[in-house]
């Protein structure tokens, strides 16, 4: 698989997803510096987590206006797949590629913890069609602004169009804080209209070996990559 990982000043999960991509596909992704615009054709672009431009102004707002975004939009118009994780999700929204907004966590605190995700019934998407629907994924979050917020109309539209990818669900202990940020309808990730762009707050690259306490991130990424080159 030909993949690329964008790097903005302040990206800090770039190395983690590069390691995951290399381990899973056997091939290192190219690094896409935010000021660059010329790239070879790719199957997948990952926008990693972090604090691009220090999260100044609004999370993802400055990164969404970087030169590299134009290349990403071209890639999408060619039908390419894009995965935005955490700050990457925020950037996709700020760039107008995905709808809605991500606002401060309900408790106004940065939150880093494991979450349990339920896969939703979606339109055809390379990120999800390889996974069994009844599978629950244990993947950690770490963010300050992950509270997905949208109008009722948009929320209904996302639901009816099968564009809600993941929801946070209760774990075994009926944890009252199962939704780590208060996001509407417990949404953890959404898809673009064509299903080929996924934005998600949880970090699958942080659950890729048994020492992380789980390998659900590996499961998710492996199946996604299989489908993308499918």
């Amino acid at each position: 698989m030909r993949s690329g990982v964008t790097i903005f000043p302040g990206s800090n999960c770039d190395r983690d997803i590069i390691v995951a991509l290399k381990n899973i596909t056997g091939k290192a992704p190219i690094k896409m510096w935010h000021k660059d615009i010329e790239f070879p054709n790719l199957d997948l672009i990952v926008i990693p987590g972090g604090f691009s431009f220090g999260d100044y102004l609004r999370c993802g707002a400055l990164a969404a206006r970087s030169p590299v975004i134009k290349s990403i939009k071209n890639h999408i118009s060619r039908g390419g797949a894009v995965l935005g994780i955490c700050n990457g999700f925020q950037i996709l929204i700020e760039a107008g590629i995905l709808p809605g907004s991500l606002i401060r966590n309900k408790k106004l605190l940065f939150t880093c913890r494991d979450t349990m995700l339920e896969i939703q019934d979606t339109i055809v998407s390379p990120f999800l069609s390889g996974l069994k629907k009844e599978l629950h994924l244990n993947i950690p979050v770490a963010h300050n602004e992950g509270n997905f917020f949208a109008s009722e109309t948009l929320l209904n539209e996302l639901k009816n169009d099968g564009r809600i990818a993941f929801k946070y669900i209760k774990e075994i202990n009926n944890d009252i804080d199962y939704n780590p940020n208060g996001s509407s309808n417990d949404i953890a990730g959404i898809l673009s209209k064509n299903g080929r762009v996924l934005g998600m707050m949880p970090h699958p690259e942080r659950a890729i070996n048994k020492l992380h306490g789980g390998t659900d991130g590996l499961k998710f990424l492996t199946k996604s990559f299989e489908q993308i080159i499918g």
Binding site: R15, F110, C112, P140, R206
Partner: protein, 766 residues
């Protein structure tokens, strides 16, 4: 000094004022004593101008000169085969095999965090990270040792909230995982909180960078953020007591920018991967002053800088302000001549300032130009070599009064005490705090925030076909109430507990960084606490072969004459060869729990200075539990051997709250229960039996509880090695801890209060 005429005075009034001859009144205003002022005049053979005096006052501050503690710091053990760099550099460096080095240090940001908790804590994290990457190491983990005042004080909530946000604000953004530490509350910290941040980095053993200047004529480079008027005289502020008006010192607190910190980290490491950097020093306390002076001093050279070339954030900054500013995210470097262009390209890429501001000289003097004038011309030697070193009078007070259990009034039953223990914020879960820290960024965190006794990080790039690779285990520890009662014993205990924690996570303890937090050293008893705990730390660290390789001293933690509990924090680092073999503290079902280091005959536990004593009798009193170094060393060796034989599933050291508290903690995660074995003589005791209480909650040292599926093999090994042990029983799925027929403890209830205590204090409970 050149005489300025009226015309020039009009051009730059500020600079003119900075050039003025200083007076004794100025010196006192900057925290210098009369003797120190006269010493300066004598050594530099003139009366200093205000810029020169400012430089002296910063370098002579307690924070930079260690004038009260130096004599004693020199007695710490700092040498071992595995030590590459001991104290004196930006951070300590140890050899961890495979051509790799661990680079680490702990540093306090106590005074600024009290005045402005968010920025104080954030810049504490930023500063310690720079200390580590200045050495050429990529930071891989952060920890914090925090001490706050009484949880019922309204100010405490504000400080906890601000400090935690500040630590997270910097660490999360720069993308280094915050993996552990400790947080305690005691009213002695009401007016002086402690914020000690520790960072660990990883470097190639042969690519360590040092700060000594080299080569007369080599260019001196300023990189990073611009210099502003923030944090001026921060080091001096951090070297005095607080009064009621300390909030007026807010302008002396620096402001952190983790985003620039991240850019500086990446740019420096990128440059360091070339051969351009000869030496490098971060601008921490006392900013450009201490960095330039220390670099020149270590290289026995001089430095000539043109302050007009320093990138500034504000107009018309004087030489005094530029030299004393503590603006963050700045570095000073000496480059190989001719490599400036190459280096500048890297800093341009990361949008950071890069300026050649002067050169290394042979003169041994610090010469500063500003606006065409000589703003400073002083010899460097007196700034460092002649910095005062005081032999302050001291008295080590050791409380030798052994409190026996029958001296206490028994008010509660065993289960009531346990409930109170887990409602005590010093014991209860710190989840509310650590969930605000990104503990998993970088993807190498194996164990963080209490999953094991020490946090464990995988060493990136050491994995092979057989193993996930090497791991590093890190902990911070100190029990201030023990140190208060007996500084020597308390110092030893802190080292031993840290070593036990590292070993209980499956790692071999290797070396220490320490943060010595005390009150006013001009008081005899406080100086005694400093000297005593250094003696204790030295003794234990030598015995365990875990030398001190870096550290920091924070004195004058007093407000209106009231000092903090003595708090010499030990940060310890150890190594695991195969990181998949790290040990958790959580027992699994059908594990047998065994106490290492406790005999069958042991019944009366040590209650002096214990949490139990505080709960029963609202007092902390008497001699703290004694420390037996031979036993501590043996227990660590045996634990690691048992683990090498793959006989253990979990381990947890017995500390605050004694063996029953430790046992409960091991049962929480997997919702387990246990029918607890009691010593024969306690079998028929009721819930208020004093001896039973002391057995359950005594804080005798040198004990670790291990969990095993292979009890016979463990017993055999322990008997062969003549180590005392006591079998507590086998875990089950019942979720009940049965003490005898009379007492059943509901683990789930304790687990709930363990989780709810801190959110309740912070007003964030559901």
């Amino acid at each position: 000094m050149k005489i300025l005429n009226q015309e020039l005075y009009n051009i730059n009034k500020n600079e003119y004022q900075a050039q003025q001859i200083s007076t004794l009144v100025d010196a006192k205003g900057m925290g210098l004593t009369e003797d120190e002022f006269h010493l300066i005049c004598k050594k530099i053979k003139k009366i200093p101008n205000k810029t020169e005096l400012g430089i002296f006052s910063a370098m002579f501050s307690e924070h930079c000169s260690y004038k009260s503690s130096k004599k004693w710091l020199k007695t710490l053990p700092t040498i071992a085969k595995h030590v590459i760099q001991g104290p004196g550099e930006n951070a300590g460096v140890i050899d961890i095999g495979d051509n790799l080095a661990a680079v680490f240090k702990i540093e306090s940001h106590n005074h600024p965090s009290f005045i402005e908790p968010y920025q104080g804590a954030a810049t504490g994290v930023g500063g310690i990270l720079r200390d580590v990457f200045t050495m050429g190491a990529r930071p891989i983990a952060l920890l914090n040792a925090l001490r706050f005042g009484s949880p019922t004080e309204p100010l405490t909530k504000h400080l906890v909230s601000g400090v935690v946000k500040g630590i997270g604000g910097y660490g999360n953004c720069i993308g280094i995982p915050t993996v552990g530490g400790e947080t305690n509350f005691d009213q002695s910290y009401d007016g002086n909180i402690l914020v000690n941040a520790m960072a660990v980095g990883l470097a190639n053993k042969d690519r360590i960078f040092y700060s000594a200047a080299t080569g007369s004529g080599n260019p001196v480079i300023y990189v990073g953020a611009k210099t502003g008027r923030d944090g001026i005289h921060g080091a001096t502020m951090a070297s005095t007591e607080f009064t009621d008006n300390s909030s007026e010192k807010r302008p002396t607190v620096q402001v952190g920018d983790p985003f620039t910190g991240k850019l500086l980290l990446e740019a420096c490491l990128e440059l360091m991967s070339t051969d351009a950097v000869l030496s490098i020093q971060d601008m921490g306390a006392a900013g450009l002053t201490s960095s330039s002076v220390e670099m020149a001093s270590k290289g026995s050279l001089g430095m000539h800088l043109n302050l007009d070339l320093v990138p500034t954030r504000e107009d018309k900054m004087t030489s005094y302000e530029i030299m004393l500013s503590e603006s963050q995210e700045r570095m000073l470097m000496i480059l190989k001549p001719g490599s400036e262009e190459k280096a500048k390209l890297i800093f341009d890429k990361w949008d950071l300032d890069f300026a050649v501001i002067g050169e290394v000289t042979k003169t041994g003097r610090l010469i500063l130009d500003k606006d065409g004038f000589e703003a400073c011309n002083i010899p460097i030697n007196p700034l460092v070599e002649d910095a005062p070193e005081y032999e302050r009078p001291y008295e080590i007070i050791q409380n030798k009064n052994v409190i026996k259990i029958n001296e206490l009034k028994i008010n509660y039953t065993v289960d009531e005490i346990l409930a109170k223990i887990f409602q005590n914020p010093n014991i209860s879960s710190k989840r509310w705090i650590w969930e605000q820290y990104d503990s998993s960024v970088m993807g190498d965190t194996i164990s963080s925030n209490g999953k094991s006794d020490a946090s464990v990080i995988k060493i990136h790039g050491t994995e092979n076909s057989k193993s996930f690779g090497k791991g590093i285990a890190i902990t911070t520890d100190c029990t201030p109430r023990y140190v208060k009662s007996d500084p020597i014993n308390g110092g030893m205990q802190a080292v031993c507990e840290a070593a036990r924690n590292v070993a209980a996570s499956g790692a071999k303890p290797l070396a220490i960084t320490n943060n010595l937090n005390f009150g006013n050293p001009e008081k005899k008893n406080i100086m005694g606490e400093i000297v005593g705990s250094i003696k204790g730390i030295s003794k234990a660290a030598s015995f365990l072969n875990t030398p001190i390789v870096s550290g920091n001293v924070s004195l004058y933690n007093e407000t209106n004459g009231k000092g903090i509990l003595p708090t010499p924090v030990i940060g310890m680092v150890g190594v695991i060869d195969e990181v998949e073999n790290c040990l958790e503290m959580n027992a699994k079902e059908n594990n047998t729990l065994v106490i290492l280091g406790q005999s069958e005959n042991f019944t009366e536990g040590w209650v002096g200075c214990s949490i139990y004593q505080e709960i029963e009798n609202k007092i902390i009193d008497g001699a703290p539990p004694p420390v037996d170094l031979e036993k501590e060393k043996k227990i660590i060796e045996i634990l690691l051997k048992l683990h090498t034989k793959k006989l253990l599933t979990a381990a947890h050291d017995i500390s605050d709250g004694g063996l029953l508290t430790t046992t409960c903690e091991m049962l929480f995660k997997n919702n387990l229960g246990l029918n607890l074995n009691l010593p024969k003589s306690l079998l028929n005791s009721d819930g208020k039996d004093p001896i039973l209480h002391s057995w359950c909650f005594g804080e005798d040292q040198g004990r670790i509880i291990v969990a095993t599926e292979k009890i016979d093999k463990v017993k055999f090994f322990l008997e062969n090695n003549s180590l005392d042990y006591f079998i507590l029983g086998k875990t089950n799925a019942s979720n009940n801890l049965n003490l005898n027929d009379m007492t059943t403890i509901y683990i789930n209830d304790l687990k709930n209060s363990n989780e709810k205590t801190l959110p309740f204090i912070m007003g964030q409970h559901e």
